[in-house]
Symmetry: C2
């Protein structure tokens, strides 16, 4: 089993109430692949410039992530995003976006990457997502993320791409925007009517929830007292989720499998925000993941006490 | 066992995307007492004018709610609130507030009301909440609700009152305002440092959560496809919660008891918003409550599937 993720690999300049960091290793495919690497084999498909060196590649290698499909363009620079978060940490203000090599990204997957059992299409232009999806006809589980920009500017292409995937992960505002439906349950229903059998809705500081044919499942956010940097939380969520799903080896995961996967995703997101960029995932351990998974269970469990 | 609730009893004029209703029976003590009545005996302490007639009193009688402590002021009019909700149903815009008899509300509890095992101080001026709390020295469980208006205008009195209660229910914005702490977990910690052992945080369309000495518990909102009128959701939540707690007959409820109570509160809130005012609670049945409690359990339960 293995997961292939296609998406951005970037340097980020990050400002949060806890400080500023320049040139943090980031991008959706980075956060996803590091999170997924705790569960299964991962290949990352992306493009970088020659400013991307051995130091960066060592981060993936340390987690066993395969970078054979990470294209390096000589004489060019990597995608660079700069953003700032206000006190409440819920909204990122983009200060600067330098697409650089990412502007001409046109992924051609190696046979190994194309034969993955699980495929995750991180947030890139929907036409490319669809092209990649068609390079992986044998993927048993295909997930897709997107954002408000594509919902507004490439809506029809995005919807066409969604028809060819199993799971869509969006945040609740994006889901409402896509479906023009303010009610969350109706919006998820409308999304599933497009094709995906699972709607996985990210709700930022409120956690996440999932709509499937078997009903509704809700996962709280872990009640962290200190959130250092929310960048990559959603991608780490997806990484935990699809990494765990892939590890089960079941081409048709049960509702139980999707539920546990959503909890593992929430576990990984809760760690990701504890430090800048992907620093926390880099030093994370399996024991910490297991302990926090058990804590999520305690946060969600109740039973009626005996009556006096 | 019995619950005494002190708070507003009112007529509401309500505008939501689903229509407009004039002179709906409402007020925090009304929503609370109807919700709590499904679990235990309830007494409502409040004040109305002589525009409050047999038709209104029959609503409480039908649910067995005792109104002996509902003062009727001759020649005066009842509290009347008018509000409008926008499409997303999360924010109420107050169009008009006529305090009428409520402006001079100064509750003197009957011996029966003062001897309740559980007391809920709905949202009224903090000085009055404290005065009522001191009329009920034997109450084993005391809960308090408040709002942004009192946090801003009567902060010290509110904090002094909070020192004398067991459970505080606020929404997350109010909790952050009270504690000047944007992080929810830290804000709940700061609230519990004031005295209350339980912080019960209402999160509107995201559900609710609870902080106790034994940790964190999160309850999702029920994924309703149609919310008709959110008025009274928070009071119905509190009514279910404290009504259930009282019914256990345990003067020192366990963490399990508080968790189950918070779920019953969420169950009652989920019904309350299905129709205007308190109409849905009036026609609710025990079987419906039991079925939705079981649905909440399903929405929150997960287990790892066997590996293939």
């Amino acid at each position: 089993m293995s997961v292939t993720v296609v998406g951005s690999v970037a340097f980020d300049t990050l400002e949060t109430p806890f400080g500023k960091r320049e040139r943090e290793l980031g991008g959706a495919a980075t956060h996803f692949s590091l999170a997924a690497s705790f569960f299964t084999d991962v290949r990352v498909v992306g493009v970088v410039g020659d400013d991307f060196g051995e130091e960066e590649l060592a981060v993936y290698a340390a987690r066993g992530v395969n970078v054979d499909d990470l294209e390096r363009v000589p004489g060019a620079r990597s995608f660079h995003w700069s953003g700032r978060y206000e006190d409440d940490m819920t909204v990122a203000h983009t200060l600067d976006t330098q697409l650089n090599v990412f502007a001409d990204f046109d992924p051609k997957l190696s046979p190994e990457a194309a034969s993955a059992s699980t495929l995750f299409l991180a947030n890139i232009v929907p036409d490319l997502q669809r092209a990649v999806r068609r390079q992986c006809p044998d993927a048993a589980i295909v997930g897709l993320d997107s954002m408000n920009y594509w919902i507004e500017s490439a809506r029809q292409s995005l919807i066409e791409t969604m028809r060819e995937v199993d799971v869509v992960t969006l945040n609740d505002a994006e889901l409402r925007m896509l479906t023009a439906e303010p009610n969350l349950a109706r919006a998820a229903h409308a999304l599933r009517d497009l094709g995906p059998r699972v709607a996985l809705v990210k709700q930022g500081p409120y956690g996440a929830c999932m709509f499937t044919s078997e009903g509704y499942f809700s996962i709280p956010a872990y009640p962290l007292e200190t959130v250092i940097d929310p960048t990559g939380a959603g991608d780490s969520f997806a990484g935990g989720c699809f990494g765990y799903l892939d590890s089960l080896g079941d081409p048709d995961p049960s509702d139980d499998a999707f539920r546990a996967a959503a909890v593992y995703g929430s576990v990984m997101a809760s760690f990701a925000v504890e430090d800048f960029g992907c620093r926390r995932l880099r030093r994370l351990t399996d024991d910490e993941i297991g302990a926090r998974f058990a804590e999520f269970k305690r946060m969600m469990t109740f039973s009626e006490p005996a009556r006096v």
